[in-house]
Symmetry: D2
Subunit: 342 residues, 4 copies
């Protein structure tokens, strides 16, 4: 079985494993107060134009989402997200578990628009019974989204403007950020400038595990380590996170391996289109959603793993094929050949 | 100004005030451990066929909703409700504040259907990634709904059946229960039989304040007073609640005064219909939602208070007229005359 | 039975009941946006020198405590309190239920000292592992305390100074504030100047129910009504609270009736002392804690209610006698006579 | 610098690192549904006599503590712990953050006694105002404790009996369980029999990171994966946890490496005693607490890292020396020589 089911089914990039091996005999201070976390933070900040940004390393995505969101909000404030957003659909209500309501907005491609945010902001601003409703205070987006789509620099700028207008925070879930950056004209520096907080996903982008949270907004930096510890997100051996991100960000490895996975995914997409397989939507990143007939499904499912997403109205099944930093050209070539035979 | 804006703009029924006056010189034990709470619970239970039901008196509706819902759920479980449900739309995210996600279902008339509940139940039961999503564990309905509609006995029975099938609790918000009972074929006894918990609203139905929560399901009765106290819902002078409900339930006063308000509201509805004013929907209870033109609005708003609900797509405004136990025939007659002149 | 068991076993002062009767036929706006809440707030503020203070009316003490404390704190911050503090010992963990740790300090008389607070503040400030511990951010005291003792103006000033030094809030639980003010040299104006938030208890001091929360610190005033609503503490018929406090604060009734109860309690204390009954401590307010032998207990308990507090090491029982605004001179005289016969 | 400051300053045992290297090219299913988690669970369960036990792998200790404790408790219930307990003193109020009060008990050696638990249980059982206080429902102990002390089989059995008597759960924090098992007569099988839940620490005992939670009580097993996910404790690449515990538990490596560290620590203790350095207490495990003079401190602190615990009343400093699975005999020998020279 060749795995296209997700981007977290393999260990870590060899450079990351080598970094772990190289330091196996060394001792370090605990809880992220070590030289590797410093190096990694510096490597990440070299891509930003925000010397005042804080960088923290957490273990996983759900954890980073709820820790950061809850740290930013007061109890009567909530987060706006697409109804397909990961925090709404796949995290067992973790944000609500911290006490905060999600204000969901419909959409087909996983994205939020500035207009949708403005509508909620304006509704609250003008409500005569404001104290009876949740204040929309944080905008949660992911880059790329659950459907592989991305926000352009213009779209992110528009979201920032509406956030400024209504006093909201912009938070970017970057669990797959490397794949998103390969497909948008926005850069890490743009994210640091436009978002109050965003994170750089490691787990799905070459690391064993780990997410690097960048907090640009100084008001959200205060005592953030207390939130990390309280939420069980502070790894005792924090240097394990630092050295992984150091390995990924020195020499731009993170960008290279993610760009390659996106190129492979685009080859898949082209092959499906060439074969007449309809796309659910046009994803420019490493996740491809296509509509397969029952016959096509059975032709592929013996040899490849991929994920069902939802039954389509036309009787086909929408499924996801996912490449990753670990996908080989041989794996892609095999699948391309089988797609051509569908 | 004659008030039709809501059903909580007046003090309490004279019988309730008299009961307060009669006991002004007496001393009672605290926190609901008193003879009046006993009497009131007995009076309420005389309408039920559930000698094992527990009756608790709380102060207000939002408080009763989140206290009862949170007491019933485990942290990863959530409540199903209509997207117009009071807990979703008007309580500042109080249920989410207790850590629980609301699973909202669309609908125009404020009601949930058994089929909608079944779909969520089945989705969870068959999910291959159950631990990533919230378990739908409690069905929240209100009787009447925010739009004045009611559930029939058949509809409540269908909801009970789907709850049984999927292991869910049925919770009925009865903030306006008196008005609902006047318009449905379901009785208090039916509610006690079909719902795991429901409450009998006092605040909007003749009391100064107070809600009587009936817990039929023995599994949800355990240590419920601890939940009440922890959530600040235990009135130190609990007898004040007991004697109000005793006054309302001895001799059936509660039913009588609410029925009368519903009859008045039906006269309003008929007058609007006769005058050609479109109804937003056909409400059989004390809240009437009608679509007024700007001209009609200005004709009425100098003399009567009523509440804007939402702008209608046809350019009219949907507004609510609300009668209550305190509405007089003179007030209704005045409004009927003005409606006829619209 | 003559009740000295607590100060919430009777309805309300006749002036409060009269105010309720006088407005029984009137309609008011909901949720505290009414003329009576305005009047009551103005009457209270006439005693303060803080035109910028916000006054909110909530239903009960536990509710006011956790709503206000949780509104002031970030998730990793906690409240310092005496281990006998009401929030620690009698509220079913309501503050912890909002997610905040209590940092308790030992003491016999129910009071916190500035030195105890400073020790916790300094410990946190100098901790090398600050992110692993709770930040002490709010000082909770009650005036009077659970043991009837009070803070002098000098003690309150010292607490304010240590709060300023360590960036902490000072919160005063005034569930029995009227009785406390009769026994300390601090005034309402002093409290408004020295505390960030305090409340004026109504439930135990002449009202049917209700607490008036004064927020002096502007930073804690933002959107406070959202906290009230979210925590189920916003009475639909908010004017019921306003008119009670208006009745109590116009003409100084609140102060008068509480002073009288304190004078009665001091007569009780003198009688116990004269009879050789040891005091647990010397309380200057309406609660008196005395150590009774088994024989003395049985002599009194047939005719009076009073509360056991704890068994004393010398074999006696420490019990509480409590006067209130409703205690009559006849009740006191009867008890004095029986004490003399012990 | 030779590190004796803690037992988490080194990567992982070579066998663990080898297991990671061996699987670097393989693909696995996500979220713990993989062959390695199965193998590891089986290896652990081979030491227990509880075929019905559930084994889950989480990332860290604080996370495991609050996830498990919150899963076991209802909102009005709390956990009993020593005031030196890790959940009380070192986790930023993480348990309270989940809404639960800690009921702390004093003690010098970090241990709870069955009598202390019984006192709290009896106090609640007989309280006339039970709904006003937190129900003590879970007993939290750690093995070994923060001071390196252990519970004997007899002590654990006594705790189990008192838990049974009062309907409490027994939870054992085993962050350093390997070191504890080397010093007590209780076995893993005893823990599985006597505790409702306990965990086997990996982070401090040879793994890179990870804790294996064993849930013996079937009532606490329901939907536990939902709690793990909701609390951000479900590693996407769950097999990384499974293969580490498989490496540690196949062939008993876990027990061997921890026993060795304990033997090294006992040599340290003997050397201190021989040199006349007072012990703070007699620890049979890998943490040693000794009282050093300022002169002794400065003699050692240039060459070794160790942790200050607290200033002793006699003017000395109580410090902790900690060995681990990674401590070499050379490191111990060097320190022994320097102790002899103190």
């Amino acid at each position: 079985m060749i795995r296209f089911n997700n981007d977290y089914n393999r260990s870590a990039h060899p450079a990351v494993l080598q970094a772990l091996a190289d330091t196996a005999a060394d001792s370090f201070g605990g809880y992220g107060g070590d030289v590797w976390c410093e190096k990694a933070a510096a490597a990440i900040k070299s891509h930003l134009d925000r010397p005042d940004a804080a960088v923290h390393f957490l273990v996983g995505g759900t954890q980073t989402n709820f820790t950061a969101i809850a740290a930013a909000l007061r109890p009567y404030q909530g987060a706006i997200c697409a109804h397909t957003g990961h925090i709404h659909a796949h995290e067992t209500g973790a944000v609500e578990h911290t006490g905060h309501k999600l204000l969901t907005v419909p959409g087909r491609d996983g994205k939020l628009t500035a207009a949708q945010v403005a509508e909620l902001g304006e509704g609250y601003r003008t409500s005569p019974v404001r104290e009876h409703i949740t204040q929309p205070k944080l905008v949660y987006i992911s880059l790329p989204t659950e459907y592989g789509t991305v926000y352009s620099l213009a779209e992110l700028t528009a979201l920032r403007q509406v956030c400024d207008k209504y006093g909201m925070y912009l938070f970017v879930d970057g669990a797959r950020l490397g794949y998103g950056l390969a497909a948008t004209d926005a850069t890490l520096a743009d994210l640091a400038r436009l978002a109050d907080m965003f994170y750089i996903g490691g787990t799905k982008c070459g690391a064993l595990f780990g997410e690097a949270l960048v907090i640009s907004n100084p008001a959200l930096q205060t005592d953030f380590r207390s939130y990390i510890k309280q939420n069980g997100a502070m790894l005792a051996k924090g240097w394990l996170l630092g050295l992984q991100f150091a390995a990924l960000f020195e020499n731009g490895l993170y960008f290279d391996i993610c760009r390659r996975a996106v190129e492979q995914a685009q080859r898949l997409k082209a092959a499906f289109v060439a074969r007449g397989v309809p796309l659910y939507l046009d994803s420019p990143t490493n996740q491809q959603f296509v509509l397969l007939t029952a016959e096509q499904l059975s032709a592929l499912e013996g040899k490849y793993t991929f994920e069902p997403d939802h039954p389509s109205e036309d009787g086909r099944m929408c499924v996801r094929f996912c490449t990753s930093w670990a996908t080989t050209d041989e794996e892609i070539d095999a699948l391309l050949a089988d797609i051509a035979r569908l």
